[in-house]
């Protein structure tokens, strides 16, 4: 029975990764492309982690701080596990739609709980492997393992996901509990996740200060010894210290066991208890008649702000861009100015650099991409109403613009002011940001229309998975990275020329996609699900 439950969970996990489509060929092509994108993405991460670990191994070997390689690897992988699986934990454990169906069957609730936890654990192992495996490999090549160190490494590798899963469960539980009692569930969920996210980033950032803030560019890794659990893991893996391993095992397994034990005991009550919420009184219809387009736009904006998953996955670039702009202007401005001055690139590269940062962060905004897939089973409403598909598509695009433009422009202005960029160059920076917002909007909508995913049960699947989402994000990033590369070459010739490279191509491509959307796109929308 447990085997069947686990099998169905795993097949559901992989089914959500496949791409739906009308024709088998299109489905096959899209799924194949999705798999290729996944492989490329994972290969990129493995390579990046391997390269980083390779450099760190040499540095740590010289200073004798070999534990630092694994301490940093454990910090990074635990962060990746936490943020990669936290939404899955929340939906799988606390908001799963098939709870009632499974509970009505002769299945022990313990099996339902265990099957869910095992699949979440598998996700954590996969995410952990992306960081830990290249680090362990590079450590073996560059420094070499002690026999006991290798055994400890395996033990830490096997135990770490239990800890990250336990932390995910606690955060997801707290968020679900608080959100379920409040009316504005989305705001509370987003706010709490942001608090946890920024708190964790601050913690990692603090470690980074200890590790790498040396003015003479020499790393002082000794600060990592203050990271307790992470240090013990690193020490056990690198030096085979059994005391460190014991401390790590105790600190990781005891809280994990407690969390899993409590969750197991309270599982039925968690999934079956409905929190009482105060009923909102209807006080008559106070809304006035509006136009078709404005009504469609309002609908799209309302949908965005109604879903924490949509906000966190498709609009987080906005928040990160603003946080980064403020952080840079407050703390790192002097350092960056100094570095730029040292390399004699102050005048030429600062406006270009600021544009690159804003544009790149903006490429993480995917508001328009899942907007078609999110129609899901409700697509019949738009398709049976007397609305032009052009209006529907343009409303989805406008929603992207309305949500992404203000924060992107504010971030750009903050950076322009912080770096004392002239008004003329600041205008170019803002134009580059506007161009990137338009490009990501059009590109995302285009892919969303071409590769919609309607067969979802949970909206997380529409927002996070499918070829459109991956293609939109990776495509935008790759596109802007190419433009940045060209811009770097042209900026020494002319600053304006460098900036124009970031402005003109996105605008041209946006115009091309616009002309497609208002012609072929209309037909494509009409034929969705037909």
């Amino acid at each position: 029975m447990l085997k069947t439950l686990i099998k169905s969970r795993i097949s559901a996990l992989f089914a959500s990764m496949t791409q739906g489509g009308k024709s088998k060929n299109k489905k096959r092509v899209a799924t194949s492309l999705l798999i290729v994108l996944f492989v490329v993405l994972i290969a990129y991460f493995l390579f990046a982690m391997g390269a980083m670990a390779y450099g760190l191994c040499y540095m740590a070997n010289e200073t004798g701080d070999t534990y630092a390689v694994f301490t940093l690897a454990v910090i990074i992988s635990s962060a990746l596990c936490l943020f990669g699986s936290i939404f899955a934990t929340k939906t799988q454990l606390f908001e799963s739609t098939d709870n009632e169906l499974l509970l009505s069957m002769p299945i022990p609730p313990k099996y339902i709980f265990i099957s869910r936890m095992l699949v979440l654990l598998l996700v954590n192992y996969l995410l952990e492997a992306i960081v830990m495996l290249p680090c362990m490999l590079m450590y073996g090549i560059v420094i070499g393992y002690e026999p006991l160190g290798f055994v400890c490494s395996l033990a830490v590798f096997l135990l770490l996901p239990f800890l990250t899963l336990a932390i995910s469960c606690i955060i997801a539980w707290i968020v679900s509990e608080i959100a379920s009692r409040l009316r504005n569930k989305t705001f509370v969920t987003v706010f709490l996740f942001l608090v946890f996210f920024l708190g964790y980033m601050y913690m990692c950032g603090s470690i980074g200060v200890y590790a790498g803030s040396e003015e003479n560019a020499t790393l002082d890794l000794s600060g990592l010894k203050n990271t307790a659990l992470f240090y013990w893991a690193g020490d056990a893996m690198a030096n085979g210290s059994l005391i460190s391993l014991l401390l790590f095992v105790l600190c990781a397994s005891v809280p994990s066991f407690l969390v899993f034990f409590i969750l197991d005991k309270r599982f039925i009550s968690i999934i079956t208890t409905k929190k009482a919420k105060a009923k909102i009184e209807y006080k008559g219809n106070t809304e006035k008649a509006g136009g078709v387009y404005s009504s469609l736009l309002k609908k799209e904006i309302r949908r965005f702000f109604s879903s924490s998953a949509y906000i966190m996955n498709a609009g987080l670039g906005n928040v990160l861009c603003l946080v980064m702009a403020i952080a840079i202007s407050v703390s790192s401005r002097e350092l960056l100015l100094e570095l730029s001055g040292e390399y004699g690139m102050l005048e030429a590269f600062i406006p270009f650099g600021v544009s690159c940062v804003c544009v790149f962060m903006g490429s993480m905004n995917l508001v328009s991409t899942p907007s078609i897939s999110l129609e899901g089973k409700s697509l019949w409403i738009l398709q049976s109403c007397p609305i032009s598909p052009r209006d529907i598509l343009m409303a989805k695009l406008s929603c992207h613009m309305v949500i992404c433009t203000p924060l992107s422009v504010i971030s750009a202005v903050i950076l322009c002011v912080a770096f004392k960029i002239s008004i003329v160059y600041s205008l170019f920076v803002v134009l580059a940001v506007l161009g990137s917002v338009a490009f990501t909007g059009y590109w995302g909508l285009f892919l969303g229309l071409k590769f919609p995913k309607f067969d979802w049960q949970n909206e997380n699947v529409a927002v996070k998975q499918g070829f459109a989402v991956f293609g939109s994000m990776l495509g935008s990033m790759l596109f802007f990275m190419i433009l940045m590369g060209i811009g770097v070459l042209l900026t020494p010739i002319s600053i304006i020329l460098g900036l124009m490279v970031l402005i003109v191509p996105p605008v041209i491509i946006s115009v091309i996609i616009h002309s497609y959307l208002v012609n072929g796109g209309i037909v494509a929308f009409e034929n969705l699900k037909k």
Binding site: Y282, K299, S306, I381, S384, I387
Partner: protein, 246 residues
């Protein structure tokens, strides 16, 4: 009001609807019955512009759904078999959204919302999110949203599923009123008693082909609709066609 001419729709090798023709005039209430998978929903979705079809033509009040789908959609309202509405909206926001789409004035929408929400007992829940609604409440909201723009033609797929007896009664009353006011109704149902009691006309579909259609009294004669339906289900469609032609 609704003219379906030689409608054919295939899914791969399967003919879901095969050369189906029907004519529903203003003032008529037309029931559409058949076994599961007979082609009822495909026919209905084709009529509402939700599905493309391979052959044939569909006219709504004289306008071809192929040539001018938006004009056709202005004249009709559709209620699907499963009311998947925008769960992120409250009931009132959804009704206002639909009213905006159909260009209903503030005063008119307020009157209609008030009238139908009171009628179906949904007024106190209008401020709640649709995600908190039961199936029946969603069905009531879908019905109100369909009635809000006073459609000339109401097309419904299993409209009574999930409705409580009072709401079902009120819907039947409203359907009768629409037809009396010159509108037309075309709906599918598995509840043969309802079809028998309230409909003027009936069409029975089997394996995508129209087995019989016409006035209720002619179709069922002295028998009950149930016995006619079961008899037709057991016989092959060729016999049914002969009966229809006769």
């Amino acid at each position: 009001m609704l003219k379906i001419l030689n409608l054919t729709k295939t899914y791969g090798d399967k003919r879901a609807v095969d050369n189906l023709s029907l004519h529903i005039k203003a003032g008529e209430m037309y029931a559409f019955i058949g076994h599961n998978g007979a082609g009822k929903t495909t026919t209905i979705k084709s009529c509402t512009g939700l599905l493309n079809f391979d052959n044939g033509e569909i006219y709504i009040d004289g306008v071809s759904i192929k040539d001018d789908p938006i004009e056709c959609k202005r004249k009709l309202a559709y209620i699907p078999d499963n009311p998947d509405l925008y769960e992120f909206m409250s009931g009132i926001k959804y009704l206002n959204f639909i009213a905006d789409i159909y260009g209903i004035s503030t005063q008119e929408r307020n009157e209609k919302i008030s009238k139908y929400a009171d009628m179906f007992g949904l007024t106190s829940d209008l401020a709640q999110n649709i995600s908190s609604y039961s199936h029946g409440m969603k069905q009531k909201l879908a019905i109100i949203s369909a009635l809000i723009h006073s459609p000339k033609l109401l097309i419904m797929d299993e409209p009574f599923v999930g409705l409580d007896p009072r709401a079902a009664f009120l819907l039947k009353e409203e359907m009768r009123r629409i037809c009396d006011d010159g509108g037309a109704i075309f709906f599918s149902t598995h509840v043969l008693d309802v079809a028998e009691k309230i409909c003027d006309n009936i069409a029975i579909i089997k394996d995508g082909r129209l087995v019989i259609s016409g006035k209720m009294s002619h179709v069922k004669g002295d028998s009950s609709l149930e016995s006619v339906f079961l008899e037709l289900e057991d016989k092959d469609s060729a016999f049914g066609k002969e009966w229809d032609n006769a």
